[in-house]
């Protein structure tokens, strides 16, 4: 845990401020060097990895090519494997007018996906921070019972309770609304565990110091716990943003109006129904590229937190 990155608490907490400046251990060093030098093995290593990268990237490359050519070119089997000149008009058409069986414009779906993903990710972080703080820093009746209740939700994925959950949401009049799209997905056992684990590593001396300074629990929460949890929050945000953006089953059943389609659902609606020939693949593929872009950018740009989040949420 990196204590020094926590910002200075605001004035009037001198004792706590001193505690936060204490020295701390730094991370371990890196492994260096190879056991031995085998040129053939080195060549094989890169050959296998390059092949893996190429095979894994292939579907996305074909998708990108298909999004830059005309509908007729896509239908001519085999389609070309070199990008065409229609990139801008295809993406423009999809963004402004949607495609085929789903007439909703893609910009609207992207906006819906962005709203849902942000609300889900931030909502999960906020309510899990609060409940983990209560469970770690207070003693109260039913504390462990509540903790187990949150734990048990791990065993109740939406896939196994689809119909009754749908009924609850419909009884609450939340179908076709942002609340219905996001609120039922905000509970998070993983995030609560992660924060609980992290809070347990915060030295007791900090809470002690805060109490000597006369700071209440919420002051301690804002000035110490929240700033110290920044790394965990960033890691969770990356994972939960991807989770929220990529939701499928839930938006599929709670949205019937095109206004509330997320982009992942939109793609499915574009290819569903209607005959084979009516699918406008060049526009569907442009939409697929756009649907992949935000979460892929998050993974690539925030790689460090992504890896941390993935590993932490499995502990």
């Amino acid at each position: 845990m990196d204590v020094s990155t926590a910002p200075e608490p605001k004035a009037r907490l001198p004792f706590l401020a001193r505690m936060l400046r204490l020295p701390h251990a730094r991370g371990a060093g890196r492994r260096e060097g190879m056991v031995e030098n085998r040129p053939f093995l080195t060549v094989l290593t890169h050959a296998v990895l390059l092949l893996g990268v190429a095979v894994i990237a292939f579907p996305v490359y074909v998708t990108f090519v298909a999004s830059t050519i005309t509908a007729e070119e896509v239908l001519a089997a085999p389609m070309p494997l070199v990008p065409g000149p229609h990139l801008i008009e295809n993406y423009r058409e999809a963004l402004l007018h949607g495609a085929g069986n789903s007439a909703a414009p893609v910009w609207r779906m992207m906006a819906n996906s962005m709203i849902s993903a942000l609300v889900i990710a931030i909502g999960k972080i906020v309510i899990s921070l609060l409940s983990a703080f209560a469970i770690v820093y207070f003693r109260f009746p039913f504390r462990m019972f509540f903790f187990w209740m949150i734990f048990v939700t791990l065993m109740l994925p939406v896939e196994v309770r689809i119909l009754p959950t749908y009924k609850v949401v419909s009884d609450l009049n939340m179908l076709d609304s942002y609340t219905g799209l996001t609120l039922p997905l905000i509970a998070s056992a993983t995030a609560t565990f992660l924060f609980r684990q992290f809070f347990l590593t915060i030295p007791d001396e900090l809470a002690e110091a805060a109490r000597i300074d006369g700071a209440g629990p919420m002051r301690f929460f804002w000035d110490v716990v929240v700033p110290m949890s920044k790394t965990s929050m960033a890691a969770l945000f990356v994972i939960q943003f991807i989770y929220g953006w990529n939701q499928y089953l839930w938006p599929l059943i709670v949205t019937t109006q095109e206004d509330y389609y997320t982009v992942v659902i939109g793609i499915k609606r574009m290819i569903a129904g209607g005959g084979e020939a009516s699918v406008e693949w060049h526009l569907v593929m442009a939409t697929a590229i756009m649907a992949m872009l935000p979460p892929a950018l998050v993974v690539i740009l925030m790689q460090r937190w992504f890896v941390k989040g993935l590993v932490d949420t499995e502990k």
């Binding site: 056991v35 031995e36 290593t45 990895l49 893996g52 990268v53 894994i56 579907p59 996305v60 074909v62 239908l75 309510i127 899990s128 409940s131 209560a134 469970i135 770690v136 207070f138 003693r139 109260f140 209740m149 949150i150 939700t153 065993m155 109740l156 994925p157 896939e159 196994v160 689809i162 119909l163 009754p164 009924k167 609850v168 949401v169 609120l183 905000i186 509970a187 998070s188 007791d204 809470a207 002690e208 629990p217 301690f220 990529n246 499928y248 089953l249 599929l252 992942v264 793609i267 499915k268 290819i271 593929m285 649907a291 992949m292 979460p295 892929a296 790689q303 890896v307 590993v311 502990k315």
Partner: protein, 293 residues
Amino acid sequence: MEKRVIFRSWWLPYLLVAPQLAITIVFFFLPAGQAVWQSLLNQDPFGINVEFVGLDNFAMLMRDEHYLASFRVTAVFSVLVASFGLVISLILAVFADRALRGAGVYKMLLIWPYAVAHAVAAVLWLFLFNPTLGIVAHWIKGLGIAWDPLLDGTDAMILVVVAAVWNQISYNFLFFLAGLQSIPKSLIEAAAIDGAGPGRRFVTIVFPLLSPTTFFLLVVNIVYAFFNTFAIIDAATGGGPGQATEILVYKVYKDGFKALDLGSSAAQSVILMAIVIALTVVQFRYVERKVQY
């Protein structure tokens, strides 16, 4: 582990856990309880005639050929997804662990598919494997092999397995790589000094030390194939042709939403819950989570 220093308040902690608990109760426990209750009832789609039938719904499921077929499909699907997913990502991780130069670049080029939604992955592969315009389908036919995932059950299964594995490789890869990097270098050097070549070192040292990671990933991949692949099935094949790719979670959805067979769908939900609980217990009791990064 507990805190020595705590704060005191009789109302604040309840206020703090309230939002999480409210959502948990309304959207998790209430529906789960309803599923259990409905699994004991027989009712028509409009809820007019309701009759308590005990375990009849379960008995009927056990005799239902379609349900048993769905179990078999799920078993085949998850074995294929888990084994291909683990083997391919282990190979890539072993080589990425060796590649000192460019290891970071390879890692970045291999982990991004995690970010692709399952439904989008399904559409991508559906497009490649489409019998009339897909480029991969074109190559397969060029080899003289008949190919049509819309009509042939085996072809459809191949399609969903490929999409599911493609989507999951990056996750397995990251955990294998982390596991490999946490193996003490001194062990491998000692074996090298004793004259063991790379292959022998992998079999006698690396793979056994990796077994906690492998077992952990095996459980995760089975859970993934059972429950998280709904989107792949729905977007790529819709469970078809016939019932060839109708896994259990897809059947719950289909029987509940399309056929409106509430009692049967609820009973299937209850069986699935039992499976999730069993898998979660295995994961928490027996899996050593000693993955370090």
